[in-house]
Amino acid sequence: MGKVARQVVEEAGLNVDELIDKLVAAAGAEFTTFYYYTILRVNSIGHEGEGMKEIIEDARIEDRNHFEALVPRIYELGGKLPDDIRTFADRAGCPDAYLPDTLGGVTAERRGSGQTAFGAYPAAQDTAIQDLLTILVEAERCAVRTYTDICNYTFGKDHRTYELSLAILNEEIEHESWFSEFLNEGPSGHFRRGAPGESPHVRRFMTADIGKS
């Protein structure tokens, strides 16, 4: 914990416990999204799906990076991650990005159901990729709303959290654009990342990774 780091934020008029709640919720959303994007990525198959796989991977790894970047700030402010990962997942600030019905969402294994459906997934239909992209773009839009909220909350009062949240917001907005463009919602203004999960905006906050190639 950074004693003065917390004090200066409190003295700026922020409710630090509320801010910690927001950061833990955001970190939970990043962590669960990383998990669900793993499932979405492995189900991104076929002519269209294989083309999307790399971009899903970029978003997936960058969301994990966001989790990594958020955690130090939570502890600096005197907060902590929940001891139980189930509690952490339930506090996630965005809903789970489930596999859509058209990719096995109906017959797939259910939490607590004790049933599996290996070999029983329905054949992918024409709408499957569209549904997959809709899940992805809506998940990113939730993230955009999340970090806009944190930026608004911390602006002018907690410079470090603000700058971190703004960096994450920049990447989430890019993620939204990627999937939105796949859905033909508008022309593309972006170029691909140089490497998967490059995190051009958030990388400088991942100080534990400094020195890695």
Binding site: C94, V106, E138, R141, T146
Partner: protein, 147 residues
């Protein structure tokens, strides 16, 4: 301030006290109600707690015609009460688990410099939603809206 205007409506806020994008939580009758103004100027009224986990919606954000709950970013259409996120993108098995995600909506009108609400929510049926829209269009009261 709470003042009857007839037809079951109670004046709860002066029109000038609610800017676009703003919300206020007020008391009307026995209900707590959030009154908000959309960016197109429309006034809306809805229950103060998120149907998901009861977070205070007055701490959320108005986005278009929806309220964005600040806790989990569930979104509800503030004219119909329907969940607009995440229910439409959930798979069928998950939708079945959370099918009761509907935000109670209250009749509201704006006239003579006042915002007035009826302190009983619509019942959340489709025909009520239709009447809600019609009410906003005509700013007329009706004694037969609720069963």
């Amino acid at each position: 301030m709470e003042q009857s205007t007839g037809g079951g409506y109670l004046n709860v806020l002066a029109s000038g006290d609610l800017e676009p994008g703003q919300m206020r939580e007020i008391s009307a009758g026995t209900h707590r109600i959030v009154v908000g103004r959309l960016y197109d100027g429309t006034v809306v009224a809805f229950a103060p707690s998120c149907p998901h986990e009861a977070a205070p919606l007055v701490q959320g954000t108005i986005r278009g015609g929806s309220i964005d709950c600040s806790r989990h970013h569930y979104m509800f259409d503030v004219r119909t009460g329907e969940n607009t996120f995440p229910l439409p993108i959930y798979p069928a098995w998950k939708r079945a688990q959370v099918s009761d995600l509907r935000l109670p909506i209250f009749p509201v009108i704006e006239r003579d410099g006042w915002i007035a609400v009826e302190p009983e929510p619509y019942q959340g049926r489709v025909d009520d939603d239709q009447e809600n829209t019609e009410l906003k269009d005509s700013e007329q009261t009706s004694s037969s809206r609720r069963d």
